[in-house]
Amino acid sequence: MIHCPKCGAANRRGSRFCNECGEALPMRTALRCPMCGTMNPVGNVYCDRCHARLIPMAALPSAEPEAEPEQAPIKGPSLSTIPLEEQRERAAEDKVTGTEPGGVDWLSDLSEPGVTAETGAIEEAEAEEAADWLAQLRATEVTGETEAVEEVETGKTEDWLAALREDDASKSVEARVAGADETGDWLAEFRDAALEEAEEPEPAVPVEAVDIPDWLRDMGPIGSDAEAAPPAPEPAPPVVEAAPEEPVAAPGEIPEWLQEVAPPEAAPPAPEPAPPVVEAVPEGVSSVRPLVEFPVETEISEAPDWLSELEAEPLPTPAPAAPALEGIAFAEIPDWMQAMRPRPAQAEAIVEEEPLETGGLLRGLRGVITPAFAIEAPLVGESAVPPEVREAGLSRAQLLQSLLAQPDEISQPKPLMRGPRVSERIQRWLVAIVLIATAILIVLTAPGISMFYIPPLTQPAAAPESSQRMDLQHLMGTYDTIQGLSLAPGESVLAAFEYGPTEADELNLVAEPLLRHLLGRGAHISIVSTRPEGMTVAAGLLERIVESDDQYTKDQYSLTNYRPGNATGVSQLLVSPGTPPNLILVLTAQPGPLRWWIEQTQAQGEDAPPMVAGVSAALEPAAGPYLAGAGKLKGAVSGLGGAAVYERKLALSDSDASATRQLNALAVGHTAIVALIIVGAVLYALSGLRRREE
C-alpha cells in the first residue's frame, strides 16, 4: 500500500492519485516503466507489462567497487555556492558519518524523497556507468598537480563533444574575449581567466592514468597552466572535486586551449595528438585546467558524486594561452569544462571550415549550431523537389491524416469487461447440470409415470402430537387452535395472503392444508392482503381447492380488501368496520408482514383474536420468538415438511395431499445440493492444501 504524503490515507499500490484527497502519489517504492508507465517492483530489470528494459544496459552496477575519490570544489557559476571551508567540513563529516560524500543541497533536493536503498543503489550504479564516458572529462586538480594518465575503458563516442572541442580549439581567445562584452558577469570571469592564462603558457603536466576512450585519446593533451601534474598512476580524481591543498591557478591565466583560438597572429602551434598509452604524461597534456579560476574566497559548492567519480581524461595538448588583454579579468574554469578543450589540430581545421560567430554569447566560436527561431520567417517560395516517398511512409501519412480528420472526442477509457474465468464457467456448468438432472429425475419419477419409479425417500413425521420437536409442537398448536374454533354463523376467519407469485410455489403448498382444514370446519374465509398480487394468488388457490372437493363451496370465501401501506394498512384492516374475525391466519415468506400482523393484532389488547401462521421454512426462526411461551402466535406451520405433516394429521387423500407428493422431490433436491456443497468443499480444500505445499 502507498500512503498519501498529504493525508496519510492508504492507497493501493500502483495508484497515481490519493483516493481521499486527490494528491498525486509519489513513486517511491517502484520503478516506472518509461514505455508504458506501469509501476514495477524495484528489483525488476524488465517491465512486467511490456517487457521494456527498466534499467539501461550501461546502468548495471559494476562488480568491483571503486574507491571513493576525493572531491574538489565545483568551480563554476552554474551551481549553488557553498563556502569552500564548509564544503571541506561537510566532506569530512560525510566521511565520518558515512553519508553520501559531497552531498550538495541542491543535488540532494533533486533526488526523489523516499528513494529506497535499492533505487539508490541502482542510481549509483547508473551513475557509475555513466561516469565511464564522463571519465574522460574529469578535470585534474586545479592546482596543477601532475596526474598520471591511465587507460580508460572505451566508451561511447560523443561526437558533439568531440566537435565542440575541435571548435573550441580552433577559435581564438581574442575572438571569444571580444564577444565577451555582451556576456554576463559569469562569462566575464571566464574571459579574464582565459586571458591571464594566455599570458603564461602552462607547462605540460602529466595527467593521472585513467581509462581513456579512443576518441578522447585521439584528442591529445590539453595545454596546462603552471600547475604541476599529479603523480601517476593513481585513480583519477573527479572532474570537480574538493582539493583543499591544491594551489589555485592565478586568476586570469588563459589556458592553452583558449590560447589556440586566439587571433591567427597569436595562435600557437597546433599540438600533436596524445598517444594512446598514457602512462607518461605527454607534453602539453595537463589535468583539466579551468578556463578561468575562481578565487579561493568564491563560494562554490562541492561536486556531486557522479562528477566526483569521473576519471580524468587524456586531454589534447591545449593551445598556448592567448595574450592577456588588459583590463579583463579571467574567471576560473571548472575542470570539467577544461576537459572540453578541443584539440588544436582539429580546432584549426574547424576554424577554416566553419563560420565564425560574430555576435551574442557565442561570439568567437566556430561550428556553432545555428539557432532556430521560435517564429520562423516564412520561406520565400522555392518549390521544393518532393523527396521520394516510400509506400510505408505514404501509408503512415495517410493514417495520420485520417486520424487527424476524425472529430475531436474525448475518449473515455473503457472499463475492462471481464467475463467469468474458465474454472468459473466449469463450476457453473457443473452445478447447473447437477441441478437440472435432479429436476429431470424428479419429473420422471413423479407419481403416475410408471416408467421410472423410485420408492419414497422420505416420509412426514408420524405422531406429531407426542414429538418433542419444536416445529411439530408449533404445528400441533395450529391444528388445535383451528380445531377448537367456535364458528358461529356470520363469524369469519381472516386470511392474510402476504406473498406473491415468487413465493407461491412453496407457500401455496403450506396454505392449502390449512385452508382445507378451515373450509372443512365450515369457516368463512375473508381474504385480505397488503400486496396487490396477494389477492390474485389467493383467488387462484382457493378456486382450485374449492373445485377439488365437492364439500367446499365458493361462498365460503370472499376477496375482501387490498390495503397498501404495510403496517399501517394492516392496522386499518384490523379496525375496519365489521365483525372482528375469530382467527387470523397469516401466510407469508417475509418477516415484515408477519411482524406487522402480530404487532398490530396485539395492539388491540385483550380483544385481539388468536393468530396462527403458515410460513416458509426459511422464516421458521423468525417466527419462533412469537411462538415461545405465552406467545402471540398460537401456532405455525413452516415449510413443505410441516405442510406434509399437517396433511397426514388431516388424513387427506393422496390427490389432495399436494405437499406430500412433493416431499420426495424436495428430498432429492436437498440431497443433490448437499452433495454439490461437499464436492466443492473437498475440491477447494485439497487445492488449498496443494497450494500451500507448493
Binding site: 463450476q427 457453473r428 452445478v431 447447473a432 441441478l435 419414497p456 425417500l457 422420505t458 416420509q459 413425521a461 418433542q468 420437536r469 419444536m470 416445529d471 406473491g500 407469485p501 415468487t502 413465493e503 407461491a504 410455489d505 398480487e533 390474485t536 394468488v537 387462484g540 397498501p564 401501506g565 399501517t568 394498512g569 386499518q572 395492539a603 421454512a617 421458521e620 426462526p621 423468525a622 419462533g624 420468538p625 415449510g639 413443505l640 415438511g641 416431499l663 424436495l666 428430498a667 433436491g669 436437498h670 440431497t671 445440493i673 448437499v674 454439490l676 456443497i677 461437499i678 464436492v679 466443492g680 468443499a681 477447494y684 480444500a685 487445492s687 488449498g688
Partner: protein, 222 residues
Amino acid sequence: MSSLIKRWIPTLLFTVLPGLVVLAGYLLPSNQTLVDFRHELVEWAVIVAAFAFLLGVFNILRVHGRQVFRRRQGWFYSLVLLFAMVAAATPPTTQAILEVVRPDSPVHKTLEDATSTLFNYTISPLGASLAALLVFTLTLAAFRLLRTRRSAGTVFFLLVVALVLLGTTPLIGLEWLADVRDWIVNVPGMAGMRGLLLGVALGTIITALRVFLTIERPYSES
C-alpha cells in the same frame, strides 16, 4: 432569520411535528383526536407512495427510452421492457377507467380475463422462474465458498447448511437428522437471529431519533 425561515421552520413543520403527532397517537391510543390525526397522516403517506409509483414509471420510461433512442448496448431489451410495461398496464388501467366511465360495458369481462391471463401465464411463471434461479446462485455460492474464505468458521457454516438441508426432509433411516435440524434452528439459530434483530432494532431507533431530532437531514444539505 433567513436560515430560520428557509431551513428550520419547514423542518419543524414537516418533520418534527408530524413525527410527534404519529408517535403520540401510538402512545396515547385513548386520545381519539390524535389517533384520527395519525390515521390521516398515514393515509396521506400511502397516497404519496402511490403517486411515487408514477415517478417510478416515468423513470423507467426515461432510462430505457434513452437507451432505445440512442441505440446503446442492450437497447433491444429496453424496447422489450417498455413494450411489456405498456402491454401489462393496458388491460387493468382500461378496466379501471371503464368502471368509472362505463360501468356496464361488456368489455369488463374481457379485460378481466386478459389481466388474469397476463398474471397467471406470464407474471407468475416469470416470478417463479426468477425465484428458482436463487437455488442455482445460492448453491454455486456455497460450492465455491471455501475458495474465497478459508477458515474454520466457513467449514462450520457449510456443515450447518448440510445438516439443516438434510434434516428438513430426512431420508428414511436418517430421521434423527430432523431432531438435529430442529435444535440448530430453534436454539443457536433463533438466538443469533434474536441478537441480530435486537441490534437492528437499536440501530433503527437511533437512526429514527436522529431524523426526528433533525440531526440527520437526508432531504437537505447538512
